[in-house]
Amino acid sequence: MENLVLQALSGLASASSLFLVASGLTVIFGVTRIVNFAHGSFYMLGAYLAWTFVTTLPRGHLGFWGGVLAAALLTGMIGVLVEVLILRRIYRAPELFQLLATFGVVLVVQDLALLTWGAQDLLGPRAPGLRGGTEILGLRFPDYELFLIAVGPVVLGLLLLLFHRTRWGTLVRAATQDREMVGALGVNQRWLFTSVFFLGACLAGLGGALQLPRESVNLHMDLAIITEAFVVVVVGGLGSLAGAALAALLIGELHAFGILVLPKITLVLVFLVMALVLVVRPHGLLGRAPGPPVGGANTAEPVIRPAPPALRWLGFVALAAAVALPPFFGDYALSVLTEIAIFVLFAASLHLIMGPGGMASFGHAAYFGLGAYGAALAAKWLAAPMEVGLLLAPFAVGVFGLLFGWFCVRLSGVYAAMLTLAFAQIAWSIAFQWVEVTGGDNGILGVWPDAWASSKLVFYYLTLALCLAATLLLRRIVHAPFGYALRAQRDSALRSEAIGIDAFRTRWLAFALAAVMAGIAGGLFAYAKGSVFPTFMGIPRSVDALIMVLLGGVQTLSGPIIGALAYTGLQEQLVRLTDYWRLVLGLSIIALVLFFPQGLAGAARSAWEARRGDA
């Protein structure tokens, strides 16, 4: 009994820490609609800055608490810097595009933190006055954890006061409900956005700084916290502070008690919770369904037209080069080209649901990875030849696509995207944990192509043929009646329903189709690499796909192709050129975002149309 009480208290302390980070994220999202990947970086910066301040300032209460506050405020200023220098310039870009910029910031901060604070984990001093423990029911509990338990509700109370008792807070709440209306009423949105970003980054920084007496400060803090913070925000309901608090409480306590029953559950628990909550409540615990989109036709995306002749010619030239040149390349160039072809299909498959489908996915790697595992498991357990494995993989993935898709496409926006992430993480944890079948994180080895395709050149042509056919099929589908239906339901679900399009079924089939295509890419990837690992369906792989599509441009059909080429090529080159490739890649992404807010292909199209004068 005593133990259970203490376990509950431990859960409360974790919940409190989680809430601090999540509250900042939810406030930023509520007003600016930005999916801020860099929030974890703010958290990490808060912790590092606090370490620097606390260890340089004189010891004692002033040095410690002053250092923590200074770190939070400075992190807030860094947030302002990011907002003013980068995000402010791209608010008009398509939804989710800002995500790309924040991803660039994540990469830059990772390398800058390594350069500034070094690779070794840093341990901060304990909080003065809160070093020891208190006896509770005969067991010792740390004072600092008790303090943390109190901090969460206090911050929640202060935030609620701020939002409900000040003019600024009223404006923020108004903007969370209807940004355009607030703008129309003459409120300076720039100032509002910047101040909200300051507050959000401040809260993340405070969350990080307060971990100092509890945890070591290290370079993995950003990614460790960001997914969990997103889960809390989404489970609570986007933009809802009370929801975030409730969700943090739920997850903190489930964690604390979950490990008593199933010690290995920590890998997947938060995602199970999120999946359950979103299936039952599509807008989170306390989130409100957004009103119907204003103006229907006004929000329609640009119509996709057949490619202009010049683009066709360019495509033919590129294709001819892809077919004719490789015999003159070495093995390494061939394996890079093989990889690029695979990623083109992977990105194109995601593009089907993101562009024409109008749904975002943060978990598309699930289908890529399932395809790879399908092929590898067929080879390992059925001793199937490569052809069978490559054929079997997309079918298996299609089944999962139908299953997961049925849940995901009922949701919209970030909620749907986060549910795809939840399913991807569940699939990932099964691959990771079911060691007897999947080999766990050591993966499945020895998945090499059959003898006839073992030469790099033959395998490249095989990959090119399959990926090209699949990518062209995806293009064709967008122009087919099904594609029209898909685009119609994206632009106005109500109107398309009215003319007899089953929006749910259309989205569902598109989702499954995208999964099948990703499965083909995954199966090929397994044979290209000779081995399969859970990382194939990890979050970074999903993010890669997202980056490729966004970088290329969501609203053009060539976007994913260009994006996959640019991102894979850039990364491959940078890794070979410099140890600080993350810094350069991050800066490149930020630069591309600033100069081409329509994506690379989108920018090319605008330039083309402007020159021909038919924009």
Partner: protein, 411 residues
């Protein structure tokens, strides 16, 4: 430093330094800089994902390569390393292995920190008949269940390090044990071996609780409380890095370690002990590397050379990086040519002088006999270190040959 390692070119070590270095035994006095086409080594590691361990590793590697070259290289040819960062992704490591083998024309592959990255490179090496000298990955699968002709591993494996600790754990009076390990292959195997070997040594032990926090994401308070609730007499810990730091902090404040013995893998390594500063736990039985106390001639020479070159003290990673190069150099001297099969034959049973003493790459499973230091942790001058330590030679902590043959696929 650029990724190609080209900055080594201008570095010429003085003769006195070379003689003082551990390579002194190999250095023929009077031989100047190496001549001829350099021998290229491809090295892949998770530099951006695991910098805390791998920066000292890289320094150790560079130091050894400089010493080898200053002592005349390999039969007059310099060695040159091309480093690549796999960012912790095995699929990227496979691509880079292809790049190094096909585009950079390296003679052999090396590196690897994460087990799955090591296995991916090993499988590539097997498929493409390229020698792979794995430096760091600990997984037993690398030389046993998934071992192959082309893969050799330097560092003491999970099994070996667990066996070293079981020897000490069996001497303790404790019967009720709890375990805590990161939830991935390394943690799972370590716990499995520890349980199996300890039960064999002391049949009356029971395991009353186990915790498997996700790697790098330990919820330390809840984990500590859950372990305390089971009231074990002793704890076997496998967490390391940030997880370890957080676990120790919460454990100390909550009194988990009072009146309990803790047996802990890798905790004595400076990489993991030093960040804990004056909060390093005392009296834990650990494997590690008490770098400031080892005064054998080989180690003293290495330590002095390392401090001169990098103005920093060596970590265990430095030793691993350094010894990998020394082992490769010894193999290159022994091998008649740079042909892969010849080099593989040279690696079989290769003996070389490591920083820790003589080491052999066993023919039976391609595992080196490099050992580890076993001792208990103490606080000295506000820093954690090891006391009452001894060198556990790896060759004494491997299963009998018939067991190894059963574990490893025989061709």
């Amino acid at each position: 430093m650029d990724a190609t390692g080209g900055d080594m070119t201008g570095w010429v070590i003085g003769r006195r330094q070379a003689l003082a270095g551990a390579a002194a035994a190999l250095a023929a006095p009077g031989i100047g800089q190496a001549q001829g086409e350099p021998i290229r080594i491809g090295e892949i590691n998770s530099y951006t994902a695991q910098p805390a361990f791998l920066l000292p590793y890289r320094n150790g590697w560079t130091l050894a390569a400089e010493q080898v070259n200053a002592a005349g290289g390999i039969n007059g040819r310099r060695i040159e390393t091309i480093h690549r960062d796999d960012a912790g992704k095995p699929e990227d490591a496979v691509r880079l292995a292809g790049e190094l083998a096909n585009a950079e024309k390296v003679a052999l592959l090396s590196g690897g920190f994460l087990s799955n990255v090591g296995l991916a490179i090993a499988d590539y090496a097997n498929q493409n008949r390229k020698l792979y000298v794995a430096s760091e990955p600990l997984t037993d699968a690398l030389v046993w269940s998934r071992g192959n002709r082309y893969t050799f591993r330097l560092r003491a494996s999970t099994y070996m390090q667990s066996a070293m600790l079981v020897e000490e754990a069996a001497k303790l009076p404790a019967r009720r044990w709890a375990t805590v390990a990161p939830n991935y292959e390394y943690g799972q195997s370590a716990v499995r071996w520890f349980k199996e070997l300890l039960t064999r040594a002391k049949p009356d032990v029971t395991f009353v609780a186990e915790q498997f926090p996700a790697l790098g994401r330990i919820d330390a308070g809840a984990t500590v409380q859950a372990l305390a609730a089971a009231n074990p007499e002793a704890i076997f810990n496998v967490t390391f890095g940030a997880d370890l730091t957080n676990f120790v902090r919460q454990g100390l404040t909550r009194g988990l370690f009072e009146r309990r013995r803790v047996v802990s893998l890798l905790t004595g390594e400076p990489e993991y002990l030093d960040p804990l500063q004056d909060e390093a736990p005392e009296n834990w039985i650990v494997t590690g590397y008490p770098w400031e106390q080892i005064n054998t001639p080989e180690h003293t020479a290495f330590r002095d050379a390392y401090r001169r070159r990098w103005n920093d003290y060596p970590r265990l990673g430095s030793v691993v990086g350094y010894d990998t190069v020394i082992a490769i150099a010894a193999m290159l001297r022994k091998s008649p040519s740079l042909d892969t099969e010849a080099m593989v034959d040279a690696m079989q049973g290769l003996q070389f002088g490591s920083v820790f003493g003589p080491v052999e790459f066993r023919g039976i499973d391609h595992q080196s006999t490099m050992g580890a230091y076993v001792g208990r942790t103490v606080l000295r001058n506000g820093k954690g270190t090891m006391a009452d330590w001894r060198y556990a030679d790896g060759k004494n902590y491997l299963p009998p040959d018939d067991v190894v043959r059963a574990l490893r696929p025989q061709t």
